[in-house]
C-alpha cells in the first residue's frame, strides 16, 4: 500500500465538496490530467451525493466514511453510509432507474460511476447501510497519448 486514508464526516451537502477535494489531494501523487481528475471527482461526487440524499434522505443526520487506498497508479475508494440501504442492487444500477424522480434525479449516478472508473461494487443491507467500492486505474501519460 503506497498510501491510505479514512475520512469521516457528517452527511450534509456542504461536505460533498469537501469529499471531492480530499480525494483530489489524495490522488495528487499520481499527478493526473485535468480530465482524469475531473472524471474522478465526478465519480466521488455521485457516490457521496447518493449517500446523503438516498442513504439518509435528510441533511446532517448521519455519518459518511470514505476509505481510500493507493497502490502505484490504482485507487480503491469505499464510500460508506449507515442509512436505509438498497433493496435491489441490480435494479439500482440500471441506467435511468431512480427512486426519487420528484427531486429531478436522473437515475444516472451508478452509470456515470461505472463509465468513469474500472470497477464499481455495491454492498448494501436494507436499513443498515451501503458501501460502494470504486476502483480506478490511472494510465501513465505516455500510454494515454498513444490512445488519443
Amino acid at each position: 500500500m503506497d498510501n491510505e486514508i479514512t475520512l469521516s464526516f457528517i452527511a450534509k451537502s456542504e461536505n460533498e465538496a469537501l469529499a471531492r477535494m480530499v480525494m483530489s489531494s489524495f490522488i495528487a501523487a499520481i499527478d493526473p490530467t485535468i480530465e482524469e481528475l475531473s472524471e474522478f471527482k465526478t465519480v466521488i461526487s455521485e457516490a457521496v451525493t447518493n449517500a446523503i440524499v438516498h442513504g439518509y434522505e435528510e441533511d446532517g443526520v448521519g455519518k459518511i466514511e470514505i476509505h481510500a487506498q493507493r497502490l502505484d497508479r490504482e485507487i480503491v475508494v469505499s464510500i460508506v453510509d449507515y442509512g436505509r440501504g438498497i433493496r435491489d442492487v441490480s435494479q439500482a444500477r440500471e441506467p435511468l432507474f431512480t427512486t426519487k424522480p420528484e427531486q429531478e434525479r436522473s437515475g444516472m449516478g451508478f452509470t456515470i460511476m461505472e463509465s468513469f472508473s474500472d470497477d464499481v461494487e455495491i454492498y448494501s443491507i436494507p436499513d443498515r447501510g451501503t458501501t460502494v467500492t470504486i476502483t480506478k486505474r490511472f494510465v501513465p501519460i505516455q500510454e494515454s497519448s498513444r490512445i488519443v
Binding site: A17, R20, M21, S24, S25, A28, A29, D31, P32, T33, I34, E35, L37, I141, S144, S145, V148
Partner: protein, 77 residues
C-alpha cells in the same frame, strides 16, 4: 502566457500540477489588485468570483505554493 492558456484549455491531457500553477499566478495578481482597490485582503469567495473559478479551485491552487516534496527535503537534508 496566452499560449499557455490556450494549451491549458485545449488539451485535457495537461497535468493538473501545471494548471494549478497557472491559476496560482492569477490569484497573486488578483490579490494585489484587490488590495490596492479595497485596502484589505480578498476572501476566497471574492477571488473565486473575480477569477470565475470555484472556491475549491482557489483553495487547491493556493496550496500548490508548497509542494509535498518540501517536507521531505526538510527531513532529509
Amino acid at each position: 502566457i496566452g499560449e499557455i492558456q490556450r494549451f491549458l484549455r485545449d488539451d485535457g491531457m495537461v497535468k493538473i500540477s501545471r494548471s494549478i500553477r497557472e491559476l496560482n499566478f492569477k490569484i497573486r495578481h488578483a490579490t494585489d489588485d484587490f488590495l490596492k482597490k479595497h485596502e484589505r485582503q480578498p476572501t476566497i469567495l471574492e477571488l473565486a468570483s473575480i477569477l470565475e473559478v470555484s472556491r475549491e479551485e482557489i483553495v487547491m491552487a493556493t496550496d500548490a505554493l508548497r509542494d509535498p516534496a518540501s517536507l521531505q527535503e526538510q527531513l532529509y537534508e
